[in-house]
């Protein structure tokens, strides 16, 4: 049991350390770790994991690590996979946050922040475009998109409420 738990932790720690830019990038790394290197899952099982990770709450990388951990070693496995994937990100972010808060009034830091704000606008737009390319295929999906955008922009609708309502509508309508 213990070697499996340690293996899960180290594999997912690697995934956490080398993932930049969100969950989908993590999936490719997870695939390498759990199928190619460790042969813990078959490709088919992995695709199931991806499907589940996408439709459940929480970051995709986190969901995948929890699910694979559970499959291999029950609840202790789910916990080691989860701890593994968040280990490096939490440490690195703590250090970064410390320095950013410390240098809050530094002039160079202010210049960097101004530039990063602009970069972030580009990066998040890019994420919206990639996700849109995958999600907006049908007339119905475009209608949902337009309605949700209008509700968020002009009615100041609560994002959580919007997600719940569209999910419920989808389940009832049986898309």
């Amino acid at each position: 049991m213990l070697p499996v738990l340690i293996g899960l932790f180290t594999s997912f720690a690697k995934v956490g350390l080398f993932t930049f830019g969100g969950g989908y990038a993590a999936l490719r790394l997870i695939q390498t770790e759990v199928i190619i290197k460790s042969a813990w899952l078959t490709m088919e099982e992995f695709l199931d994991v991806v499907a589940i990770a996408e439709v459940t709450p929480g970051p995709i990388a986190l969901n995948a690590s929890t699910f694979i951990g559970y499959k291999l070693a029950g609840i202790p496995g789910a916990i080691s996979g989860t701890l593994g994937v968040i280990f490096f990100p939490v440490i690195i972010m703590l250090a970064l946050t410390y320095f950013v808060n410390k240098l809050k009034d530094n002039r160079k830091m202010k210049a960097i922040k101004t530039m990063l704000r602009a970069a972030v606008l580009g990066l998040i737009s890019s994420a919206a475009f990639s996700m849109g390319a995958a999600a907006l295929g049908s007339a119905l999906s475009i209608a949902i998109f337009a309605a949700a955008l209008g509700a968020a922009m002009f009615l100041k609708a609560d994002p959580i409420l919007l997600l719940l309502l569209t999910g419920l509508a989808g389940a009832v309508a049986g898309l």
């Binding site: 956490g16 969100g22 199931d48 970051p59 972010m93 210049a111 990063l116 737009s125 849109g132 569209t166």
Partner: protein, 187 residues
């Protein structure tokens, strides 16, 4: 609260941080980016735990670091509000919902995934997620772009990531380097 602060402590408590991130973790459906509009609403509009500027600055830092965006964001917000215990509460809060939900699903799988309603709900949520992120981008524009040069940088970052598939880290690093090299009047 052993610190003797002259003014009243207006920071949110550890419990409030945990509960908010638990809620956020529960509704981060369809990838970590959906957290951005949810947090924008909860942290800067409903609660004013952070100003719009602080929130935007945080987004830059969280994209520069490796790992799930949700975890990075939780660490940053938690630490900024309440140091290490705040970070621990936020990370725990945003991790627990998926740990619980996934463990239950893994135990019940594959029965649950066979429900068509489950899949249909997700199909309807995906375009809404894109809309929410698009709305977040539109709101961010006001805090991000105050000079034409910012718009140029945003478009370049977009093109590098979307068209050339450059990952966020080199883009953020290049922008930071540019900020140090360019004279301050330009920025």
């Amino acid at each position: 609260m052993s610190e003797h602060e002259p003014k009243k402590d207006i920071r949110p408590s550890i419990e409030e941080i945990f509960l908010l991130f638990f809620k956020i973790g529960m509704f981060t459906i369809g990838g970590g980016y959906v957290m951005i509009p949810v947090m924008q609403k909860e942290i800067t509009e409903k609660r004013s735990w952070m100003s719009k500027e602080e929130f935007t600055d945080m987004l830059g830092i969280t994209q520069a670091a490796p790992g799930p965006i949700a975890i990075n964001t939780a660490t940053y917000v938690g630490y900024t509000l309440r140091r290490k215990s705040g970070a621990a509460a936020a990370v725990l809060g945003c991790t627990l919902p998926s740990l619980i939900v996934i463990t239950v699903i893994a135990a019940l799988f594959p029965t649950m995934m066979k429900y068509a309603a489950f899949q249909s709900a997700f199909k309807a949520i995906r375009p809404a997620v894109v809309a929410l992120i698009a709305a977040a981008v539109l709101k961010l524009t006001r805090t991000c772009v105050s000079k034409p040069v910012h718009l140029v940088v945003a478009v370049l970052a977009f093109a590098a990531n979307f068209l050339l598939k450059v990952s966020p880290f080199p883009i953020i690093a290049a922008c930071a380097a540019l900020a140090l090299l360019l004279p301050e009047e330009v920025l």
